[in-house]
């Protein structure tokens, strides 16, 4: 009861000025019109140390799997065979205390975001820290571009921390990008609603809200600065009433499960097209059914394919033309999609 009252007051104290809630762009019959993706379950040939927190693919089709609770980054090939494993130190000068995301940087170097020490860290082949950049915010996700990293913080409901930054390889400090955060009243939900799923596609960055808000920011860097436009993310018609919905405080955590998840994860497909891991709008065995939704070059709905299980991450291995889907609990599937 006391907890509920505290959350209620926290919610009321935020008092957002305005809430911009346009009607979502819906796809009618998304699940019914979707064919099953051709998938096979794959048993990894390494021990699963903890829940999976992130998955990234290198240009030469190697996977990096982040198990944050265990402080382990497992490198695996397309068949989920182990290539090598990094054990991250919790303390000391080589510490990566709270790894939140992993990707491959320039030259295939492994890059990790440390949420506790607010750093972007490059690792050596031995797993030591090669170099790092200290950030003035708590980093959550990042994506590699040709000449730097796009970095997305945990966004507090203030103007002091931006929604996105660009850290050029040639600079020491990230530059704030003019992306507009979604205005959501409760401060806890505010940060959740402003978690981003990034995808670098050629010269463009696509940054999609992962929860609550069916909006994607499209960023193009020019000599004059970053040009940003907002695009609606297509969602299943069955989920339309979930768009922008948040539970009224005080709420139970189970109520959060019915918030919109416009993008579970996102990768670039064979031709560079955005491929989104999404909820199809149907339920299966008490869970939301998942699918892969491909977008056109103009970011419109193209087609969708149904997936087995409850994958939370997707990677595309270009050299094998195969998608790898993974659940948080260590299940893996290899999937192919038609051209």
């Amino acid at each position: 009861m006391r907890l509920s009252i505290a959350i209620l007051f926290l919610g009321l104290s935020s008092c957002a000025d305005t809430v911009d809630r346009p009607k979502p762009k819906v796809v009618t019959g998304l699940a019914e019109g979707a064919a099953p993706a051709r998938c096979e379950a794959v048993a990894p040939a390494f021990e699963i140390p903890a829940s999976l927190d992130q998955m990234a693919a290198s240009p030469d089709s190697v996977l990096a799997l982040l198990y944050a609770d265990a402080g382990v980054i497992q490198i695996a090939d397309h068949a989920l065979r182990p290539v090598r494993s990094y054990s991250l130190a919790e303390t000391g000068p080589e510490a990566v205390a709270n790894p939140r995301d992993v990707t491959f940087g320039a030259g295939g170097r492994l890059a990790v975001l440390d949420g506790a020490l607010h750093r972007l860290v490059h690792l050596t082949g031995n797993g030591d820290i090669a170099d790092y950049t200290t950030l003035q915010f708590v980093p959550d996700r990042f994506a590699r571009a040709a000449n730097g990293y796009y970095i997305f913080p945990v966004k507090p409901p203030t103007h002091t921390t931006g929604l996105a930054y660009f850290l050029a390889d040639s600079l020491d400090d990230p530059v704030r990008l003019p992306l507009e955060a979604a205005d959501v009243p409760n401060p806890q939900i505010y940060s959740l609603a402003n978690l981003m799923v990034p995808l670098v596609r050629g010269r463009e960055l696509l940054a999609a809200h992962q929860f609550v808000v069916p909006i994607m920011h499209v960023v193009r860097m020019t000599v004059a600065g970053a040009r940003v436009r907002r695009v609606d993310i297509p969602i299943a018609a069955e989920l339309a009433d979930r768009a922008w919905w948040t539970p009224e405080p005080p709420f139970e955590e189970t109520e959060l499960q019915d918030m919109l998840v416009p993008v579970v994860d996102m990768v670039a497909g064979r031709a560079g097209e955005p491929v989104l891991l999404v909820r199809t709008g149907r339920r299966r065995d008490g869970h939301y059914e998942k699918g892969l939704m491909r977008l056109t070059d103009t970011l419109e709905f193209r087609d969708a394919f149904l997936l087995e299980g409850d994958p939370a991450y997707i990677a595309y291995l270009a050299a094998k033309d195969v998608y790898v889907a993974a659940s948080t609990e260590g299940e893996f599937w290899r999937c192919t999609l038609p051209s």
Binding site: L10, S14, T91, Q136, L192
Partner: protein, 100 residues
Amino acid sequence: MESRSQHFKNFTPTKETLVTSKLMRRSLLLSLVLVGFTGLVPQGASAGTDCTDGYMLCINEAAGKYDDWGRQHFDIIDDLAYAECAAGYVGCVRRKLLGF
């Protein structure tokens, strides 16, 4: 590894972090009153409330720092203190939501 409180003390404020909004100040101040100064700590955690419990404990811990150094520097550290706690909360909730 430095502790969270040590990290706050070592944190060098920039011009940007010195500028905080009334909104954040209001919500965190209220949380200090509700959580930190009244001892409003949730008792026990369950699968249905563990993310929120962790968040409240984190806020409570941050509030404790205001007894000495932090209270005098509230305008400098509140953004980061909130983000630290929010990071744990959203990470916990995200893991639950993505697997559902």
